[in-house]
């Protein structure tokens, strides 16, 4: 559908890329990154609103690198929506049909479909788009983008200004649009929940580069670089050194973690970071039998602090042998059952299949 090859561009002192990306028919990719990572710039470069310094963009096999934006047939929903304030709701939605010279009857029938799909019948005759609510504006802008029947839809943080309930409704609509209309979607966001829920694949962009592309589990559980791990709120990251390589290929670390996954070219003595999600850590309850997978990486510790969130608690556990702190996340129901207090002693297990390993480059610094 769309293929991007070694695309670079610049704005002021910020450099984007080089970026390579390949999106298939009807796929849904979210690009997740902190603000200032260059996400919007990347979309602009793909759409031809910004001149690419180098690299190429193909759409449906055609090289569009030097084609003006209006001939690329990409629909775009910018973060601020950019509804036309001088036009009414219906005129806004039909703007694309008018300028793309879509057949009038076809435009009307598509309009009908979109009014159904996005539940716009109640407001389609409103003249003043500035008086619409946030969710209504969003739906109008989405209808405007979809009316020309695009095969490629670019979304830039489309839901950041909406409250949770309306956001969920629109997210579900987007999934349907992707599946039913077969529209390929490239969706940029800084919201992890949104990126994970909507993207079939997720690309993490940091400082103008795509640092990792993969499915949910890959991005969430197997970060490939420290900045991705940090951005995705991995709280447990430990610097250590490879002490030995086991027969099954897994790594044994100086800090006594064993069974960590290996990486290409792993050698004893490599400086690495080992990490684990705080909700993947198991607290061993002495009165229960433990399975074979919980026989490894057992550490005794004391509860140093307890952070309470809405639906979860995080125990900060200090490991007795090394003095390092481990974040252990518990759902409230587990916390209610176990009832830990600061100072309590417990045993935790860093399950080997939940560990990740990243080889540290010389200039990597753990935050």
């Amino acid at each position: 559908m769309i293929r991007i090859e070694q695309l670079t561009t610049r704005q002021g002192s910020f450099t984007l890329g080089p970026i390579d990306l390949d999106l298939g028919e009807s796929s849904y990719l979210t690009i997740l990154g902190p603000s200032g990572a260059g996400k919007t710039l990347f979309l602009e470069a793909c759409m031809g609103l910004l001149t690419a310094h180098s690299g190429r963009v193909w759409i449906n096999g055609t090289d569009v690198t030097h084609i003006p934006p209006e001939q690329r047939h990409i629909s775009y929903l910018p973060q601020d929506l950019a509804l036309f304030p001088h036009l009414g709701v219906k005129e806004n939605i039909l703007f694309g049909a008018r300028h793309r010279k879509v057949d009038k009857e076809l435009a009307e029938s598509r309009l009908g479909e979109l009014l159904d799909l996005l539940d716009l019948h109640g407001i389609v005759n409103r003249h003043d788009v500035t008086s619409l609510s946030g969710g209504e504006k969003q739906r109008v802008a989405l209808a405007r983008a979809l009316l020309p029947g695009p095969r490629l839809l670019f979304l830039d943080e489309p839901f950041s200004a909406l409250d949770a309930t309306i956001r969920r409704q629109l997210q579900v609509s987007l999934r349907e649009i992707n599946r039913q209309l077969g529209v390929t979607i490239l969706h940029v966001t800084h919201d992890q929940e949104e990126a994970f829920m909507l993207g079939e694949r997720i690309a993490v962009m940091i400082a103008g580069r795509l640092r990792q592309i993969g499915d949910r589990d890959n991005i969430y559980y197997q970060p490939e670089s420290l900045d991705v791990a940090n951005f995705l709120r991995n709280q447990n990251i430990y610097d250590t050194t490879v002490a030995a390589i086991a027969a099954d290929g897994s790594l044994q670390m100086e800090n006594s973690i064993t069974g960590a996954p290996s990486y290409p070219g792993a050698q004893v003595g490599d400086h690495v970071a080992v990490g684990i999600r705080s909700e993947e850590i198991v607290i061993i309850r002495s009165n229960k039998p433990i399975g074979p997978e919980l026989q490894q990486n057992l550490f005794d510790g004391t509860v140093k602090d307890i952070l309470a969130f809405g639906g979860t608690h995080t125990l900060i556990v200090e490991v007795l042998s090394t003095g390092t702190c481990v974040d252990v996340e518990l759902p409230n129901c587990a916390m209610r059952d176990l009832g830990y207090n600061i100072g309590d002693e417990l045993q935790i297990c860093l399950r080997r299949h939940s560990l990740w390993t990243i080889k540290k480059e010389v200039n990597d610094v753990a935050v």
Binding site: L49, F84, R100
Partner: protein
């Protein structure tokens, strides 16, 4: 308890009050010399009426020409990148900081170059003609027009134009169907203020077109003539007319209908 705050506010407001009082004094000072009978008698005179007509027509013509050139020029400065843009952007302000007297002198001098002689040969003469008034006013006001319109175009969200592009508009269509409608309030305000500046123009006009009664004497020139001949009733009449126009302009600009955007 809030005394220190109140004293500070008062101290900051005082100069504003003094300034407004001074301006009110100025505007009111003509009332000592104003009489309705004089005013009506003056208004009835042919050369005053021709000065009014001349001023209105010339200011409107020079404003139209200035805005037609200024709209694309201002858009280019606001949106298009080109080498030397900073230099051009600075240089285009020249007529705003150079005294109109000098501008008028330069217009006259340029008329003595080969280009001017060429135009004279084909019958277009500037000095002491209606065309001269228009050129003088245009030269003085076009830069102000560009400056105001540039600010207006900068306030139009480029996202709107970009979305229009992706919905199928060419750059020109997006300018026509999105940028201009969104900028219409600012454009209207710019037109009004440009016109006000043109109708009040004196320095350049007097240098280029002179002050021939009934021929090239605009309203400001007529005040100058009246005062130099100590014809107070006429001067008062003209000043009152110009104050009226100014107040209309000031409050008119504030009342330009808010665009929906």
């Amino acid at each position: 308890m809030l005394r220190r705050d109140t004293i500070f506010k008062g101290a900051m407001l005082l100069p504003l009050v003094v300034l407004c009082g001074y301006f009110l004094l100025l505007v009111g000072s003509q009332s000592a010399f104003f009489s309705m009978t004089d005013f009506l008698e003056q208004i009835g005179q042919k050369d005053i009426r021709s000065a009014i007509a001349l001023s209105l027509i010339a200011a409107t013509a020079s404003t139209v020409i200035a805005v037609i050139i200024a709209i694309p020029a201002a858009y280019a400065l606001a949106r298009i990148d080109f080498p030397g843009k900073r230099l051009v952007d600075t240089f285009i302000d020249l007529p705003m900081v150079l005294t109109p007297i000098a501008l008028g002198t330069l217009i006259l001098m340029s008329w003595n170059t080969s280009i001017g002689r060429l135009l004279s040969d084909i019958g277009i003469t500037l000095p002491f003609t209606f065309a001269g008034i228009i050129l003088a006013q245009f030269t003085v006001v076009v830069a102000i027009s560009v400056r105001m319109l540039k600010a207006t175009f900068e306030q139009v969200d480029p996202r709107q134009e970009q979305v229009a592009r992706l919905l199928g508009c060419s750059a020109f269509e997006s300018f026509l169907h999105v940028t201009l409608p969104l900028a219409r309030r600012g454009i209207l305000a710019a037109i009004i203020l440009t016109w006000a500046r043109a109708i009040g123009e004196f320095g350049a006009t007097v240098m280029v077109a002179g002050t021939a009664r009934g021929q090239t004497a605009t309203l400001p020139s007529s005040i100058y003539l009246a005062m130099s001949m100590a014809d107070l009733p006429r001067a008062v009449t003209l000043v009152v007319i110009l104050i009226g126009i100014s107040l209309l302009v000031l409050f008119g600009v504030r009342m330009v209908p808010e665009s929906r955007g």
